[in-house]
Amino acid sequence: MSDMIIRTEKLTKIYENGYSTVALQGVDLEIPRGSLSCIMGPSGHGKSTLLHLIGGLDRPTSGKVFLEDLDLTAIDANRLAEVRCRKIGFVFQFFNLLPMLTVLENVEIALMLAGVPPKEQHERAGDLLALVGLEDKLQARPNQLSGGQRQRVAIARSLANDPDILLMDEPSGNLDSKSESELLQNIEKVNERGKTVVIVTHSPTVSQVAHRIYYIQDGRLKREVENFG
C-alpha cells in the first residue's frame, strides 16, 4: 500500500454559472498517511474546493483524485457516498449539526447511515462524545451549546465510523481563542490515533500544529512546506 493516502493528478475545477470561474487548475498533491496537513491561502482561491474534491463531495472538471488506490472520479454517486461514510469524516466551519436532533442523535445519525444497529449507535456515540468531553451534554440541542462545544460534537460525529481521513474546513473560523486551543488539542488527539487530518484554515495557530502545509493561490498549488514544529 502506498504511503500517500490522498493523491490528486492535474485536478481542475471550473464552475459554469453563465460564465466560467476557474477554482482549481492542474493541482498535483500528495498527502501522506497519518499526517496532519493544512491547506492555506487567500479566501476564494480554491482551498475549500480542493477539500470538497478530496472528500468526494464534488466532481472535478478534469483530473483525478485517488484515495489510497481508489479513483474517486471514476466511481458512481452511491459508491462515493459509501466512501464518504466509511473512509472520510467531515468537520465544517459552521458545524453543520442537525438542529432538531440532540447532541447524541447528531452523532448517532452518522452511524445510522452506515447501517449500525441502534443499540450499538447509542454506545459508540456516547463513547465518542465522552472523548471530546461532552458526556454531560448528550441530550442537549445544538442551540444550547457554545460554538466550541458544537465543534466538538461535529468532531465526534466525524469520527463515528472510524474513518481513515478527517477533512476540516475552517474548523476554528467561528471559535474564540480558548475554544480554538481546545479544538487543536482534540485534533492532535485524533491524529495521534493514526487518522490523517487535512485542515483548510486561515489561522496561523492551527497551521502551527500541522506537519505539512500546502499553499493554494489562484487555484494552483504554489508551495508545499514541511513543518517540523
Binding site: 464534488d58 459509501e82 464518504r84
Partner: protein
C-alpha cells in the same frame, strides 16, 4: 437513531404546516369514507329490503325500468298499472302465493308518508306481522300503521287519520319489524283503490313460490297468463345495484378528486421542506447518505402524511356519515339512508380502501420531491444558506 425516528422528527418540526397538510388529505379521505360508508350501507340495505320483501318473484307492469324497480324496495309512489284481472290470473297459478301492492303517498303533519293498499289477511300471513297495540283491522273505515310511523307522529290506537279527505280510525299498530314495513300506513286494497281513484289496478305483485327450484317455470307461466313482466328477487337486486353502483361510483370519483387535490398540497409541502432543508440534505450526504437513503427518507415523510391524514379522515368520515345519514333528504336513491342503521361504521373494506388510497396518493405525491432531494449535489446542498 432510526430512520423512522428521523422522519418523525422532521415531519413534526413545523407543526402548523404538518397540521394543515394533514387536514388537506383528511378532508379528502373523510369525504371518500363518508361516501364509501353510505354506498356500502346502501347496498347492504337494498339486499336487506329485498330479503324482507319476502318474495322470490316480483310481478310488475311491462316496461318498468330499474328506477321503478328500486321503488318496490324503497316504498316510493308507483304507477298503478296491473288490473285486477291480471292479479287474479297470477293468483290462480298453483304453487304460488300472490300478494298485490298498491303504493301511494299521503302526508301527516306535512311529512310525506307511504300508503300501501293490501289484502289484509294474506299480507299478514305473508309478512308474519304481529300487532303491538290495538287490533289488526283494515276496512273502509279502519287502517293499521307501522311501528315507526306511530312513534314518529305519536299516534295511538283510536286516533283519527285523514287520507285524501277521508277519515280513518287507527285500529292497530304493528310490532317493530326493523325494515320499511315500519314506515308505512296500511289500507285495505279496495278502499285504497277507491280513495286514490285507480280503478281495480295495483302497482305490483309480490310472489312467493312453494318450490324454489321451479322459479323459472313459474316466471314463464305468469308471463304467459297475464300481460305483465316478472323479475326475480336476484334480478331486482342486480338492476337496482347497477343504478346504486353508478351513483356510488360517481360520488366516489368526486371524493377521489378531493384527495388528489390534497396530493398537490403534499407535493407543495414536501418541496418547501426540501428547499428549507437543503443544507441538512447536504449534511446527510456528507455523512455518507446515499441517494436512495435520501429518497426514501422523504418518501416516508410523504407516506406518513397519507397515514396520519388517512386515520384522521377515517374517523371524521365515519363520524360524519353516522350523524349525517338521518338528515339526508329522502329520494329514489337515498330512501334507504333514512336511518343511521344503514351506515356501516367500521366496515373493514371501507377502512382498507380509504387507507390504501390515502397512503398510495401520498406516496405518489412524494415521489417527485423525494427524487429532487436525492438528486441534489452534496457540495451545493451543504453550501446552501
Amino acid at each position: 437513531m432510526t430512520r423512522g425516528k428521523l422522519v418523525l422528527k422532521n415531519l413534526t418540526r413545523k407543526k402548523t404546516r404538518f397540521l394543515f397538510t394533514v387536514l388537506g388529505i383528511s378532508v379528502g379521505i373523510a369525504s371518500l369514507v363518508t361516501l364509501l360508508s353510505l354506498g356500502t350501507g346502501l347496498e347492504a340495505e337494498v339486499r336487506k329490503q329485498s330479503q324482507e320483501l319476502g318474495a322470490e318473484l316480483v310481478v310488475t307492469p311491462k316496461g318498468w325500468c330499474a328506477y321503478e324497480q328500486i321503488s318496490v324496495l324503497t316504498g316510493e309512489t308507483l304507477p298503478e298499472a296491473i288490473p285486477n284481472a291480471d292479479v287474479e290470473k297470477v293468483a290462480s297459478i298453483k304453487g304460488i302465493t300472490a300478494i298485490p301492492y298498491l303504493v301511494q303517498r299521503t302526508a301527516i303533519k306535512n311529512q310525506p308518508v307511504t300508503v300501501v293498499g293490501i289484502l289484509p289477511e294474506p299480507m299478514k300471513q305473508f309478512k308474519n306481522w304481529q300487532v303491538e297495540k290495538g287490533e289488526y283491522r283494515l276496512d273502509r273505515e279502519s287502517l293499521v300503521v307501522g311501528f315507526s310511523i306511530a312513534k314518529q307522529f305519536e299516534l295511538k290506537t283510536g286516533d283519527k287519520l285523514t287520507i285524501r279527505g277521508t277519515e280513518f280510525l287507527l285500529s292497530g299498530i304493528l310490532k317493530e319489524m326493523g325494515n320499511r314495513d315500519d314506515l308505512v300506513i296500511y289500507l285495505d286494497l279496495t278502499t285504497a283503490q277507491k280513495l286514490y281513484g285507480v280503478g281495480d289496478k295495483v302497482s305490483f305483485i309480490a310472489v312467493k313460490v312453494d318450490d324454489i327450484t321451479r322459479i323459472e317455470q313459474y316466471s314463464q307461466e305468469i308471463q304467459e297468463r297475464a300481460n305483465v313482466a316478472v323479475v326475480s328477487d336476484k334480478q331486482l337486486i342486480k338492476s337496482v345495484m347497477a343504478i346504486v353502483g353508478t351513483v356510488r361510483n360517481t360520488l366516489q370519483m368526486i371524493a377521489a378528486v378531493a384527495v388528489l387535490a390534497a396530493a398537490f398540497g403534499i407535493i407543495n409541502t414536501m418541496l418547501t421542506a426540501i428547499h428549507e432543508r437543503k443544507r441538512e440534505i447536504g449534511i446527510l450526504q456528507a455523512l455518507g447518505g446515499k441517494r436512495r437513503t435520501i429518497f426514501f427518507l422523504f418518501l416516508y415523510e410523504s407516506a406518513l402524511y397519507g397515514i396520519v391524514g388517512g386515520v384522521v379522515g377515517l374517523i371524521a368520515g365515519f363520524a360524519f356519515s353516522f350523524f349525517a345519514a338521518p338528515y339526508i333528504q329522502q329520494s329514489e336513491f337515498t330512501a334507504f339512508l333514512g336511518s343511521a342503521q344503514t351506515v356501516e361504521i367500521f366496515n373493514l373494506a371501507v377502512i382498507g380502501q380509504a387507507m390504501l388510497f390515502s397512503v398510495l396518493v401520498a406516496c405518489l405525491a412524494g415521489i417527485y420531491p423525494a427524487w429532487q432531494a436525492s438528486r441534489l449535489s452534496p457540495v451545493e446542498a451543504i453550501s446552501y444558506e
